[in-house]
């Protein structure tokens, strides 16, 4: 019975591998440290040179525009060709946010000198968390705004981009502080594909995030190798 189960799960795994190879994702992920591309994907048929070609369209974070703690506009262009880690919080959050921020600080410190990595924290309480409030918050965390953007914007835009990152963020009067949100840290690559979702309140998962990030960063010696 037990063996049966193992065989079955092995078979399922094999199937998954095949499916992955067939969808053309295996070559893509192995190039970047085996981090999968998360989210829904669509297989699109198109015609090229009179032949049917199958493309896989991966879930991509759409364009966005928010304002950071320096009143600077932060858009998709700000993170263009960069890897970024994003989360959702609010400054008066009495529950998990400070813990998330203390863990995000670990990511900040680990990649302080890596210009290709930025951090993007969205407030889900834009009514209270104005630019001035975010400025004070960032100052007290003693972090640089080139590296770590604390952004605010239209409430609807923030809540809808949270869904794109596959993160829960909702207003709820029953919850402490008035909002319910997940403590997720979302890792996004240069193509704005989601490559990992980590629990930002769990030090072990944040360790994993810190380990995973370099796989997405350009290799320092790669240019030499290519020549």
């Amino acid at each position: 019975m037990k063996r049966n189960k193992i065989t079955r799960s092995l078979f399922a795994l094999l199937l998954l591998c095949f499916a992955g190879a067939w969808q053309g994702c295996s070559d893509k992920s192995s190039a970047a440290g085996d981090l999968p591309i998360l989210g829904e994907r669509q297989v699109v048929q198109r015609e090229a040179d009179g032949r049917q070609v199958t493309d896989t369209v991966y879930h991509t974070i759409p364009d966005f525009a928010f304002i950071n703690q320096d009143s600077q506009v932060v858009t998709s262009l700000t993170v263009q060709d960069k890897v970024y880690v994003t989360d959702f919080f609010f400054t008066t959050c009495p529950t998990i946010c400070p813990k998330m921020k203390s863990q995000m600080l670990r990511v900040y410190e680990a990649f302080k000198d890596e210009p290709q990595l930025v951090l993007l924290s969205h407030t889900i309480d834009p009514k209270h968390d104005t630019v001035a409030v975010l400025r004070d918050y960032a100052d007290r965390l003693q972090v640089s705004s080139d590296k770590w953007h604390f952004v605010t914007g239209e409430k609807d835009s923030i809540y809808s981009i949270a869904m794109q990152y596959m993160v829960t963020a909702l207003e709820d009067e029953q919850e402490p502080g008035g909002f319910v949100h997940s403590g997720a840290f979302v890792l996004v690559d240069q193509n704005r594909h989601v490559r990992g979702i980590y629990d930002g309140t769990d030090p072990a998962q944040v360790d994993k995030l810190i380990q995973d990030i370099p796989a997405l960063l350009p290799k320092k010696n790669k240019k030499k190798d290519a020549n």
């Binding site: 400054t91 008066t92 009495p94 529950t95 998990i96 946010c97 400070p98 813990k99 921020k101 203390s102 600080l105 004070d136 918050y137 100052d139 007290r140 965390l141 003693q142 402490p176 502080g177």
Partner: protein
């Protein structure tokens, strides 16, 4: 019958859980902001570890837990201005246990609180309950 079982359950709980109630409540209500080791968060959330505030403001501590705090405070010479939420549902015994956990951990060795001392502090700030 049911009441008897309930009483027995409560009684056994006294001998099992209460010992570490301070730590348990601290983890549940305080550690999210003040962190598991009482270190706080940079200049945003004040530390409890080695905090002079615990000594200088000893008479206010029970009320701060019960009713929260807003405005600027100075801890070990640094300014902090992040509001602390109220925990109005905690009773005097629970507050005493939290305070004693804080006073005797994270390298702190401040005098412990008694329930009557906490009760008196809470009595003096009871008007805040209505707000």
């Amino acid at each position: 019958m049911a009441a008897g079982i309930a009483a027995l359950l409560t009684l056994t709980q006294c001998f099992t859980d209460k010992q570490n109630e301070g730590e348990r409540l601290y983890t549940q209500y305080c550690a999210n902001c003040h962190m598991d080791d009482g270190s706080g968060l940079r200049n945003l959330i004040p530390p409890l570890a080695g905090a002079d505030y615990l000594v200088n403001h000893r008479d206010e501590l029970a009320c701060i837990i019960q009713h929260g705090q807003t405005g600027n405070i100075v801890v070990n010479g640094k300014n902090y201005n992040q509001g602390m939420p109220a925990f109005e549902h905690l009773n005097k015994g629970q507050i005493t246990n939290i305070l004693n956990y804080v006073q005797t951990n994270f390298g702190n060795s401040n005098p412990r609180f008694t329930i009557p001392e906490v009760e008196k502090q809470l009595f003096d700030c009871r008007h805040l309950l209505e707000q």
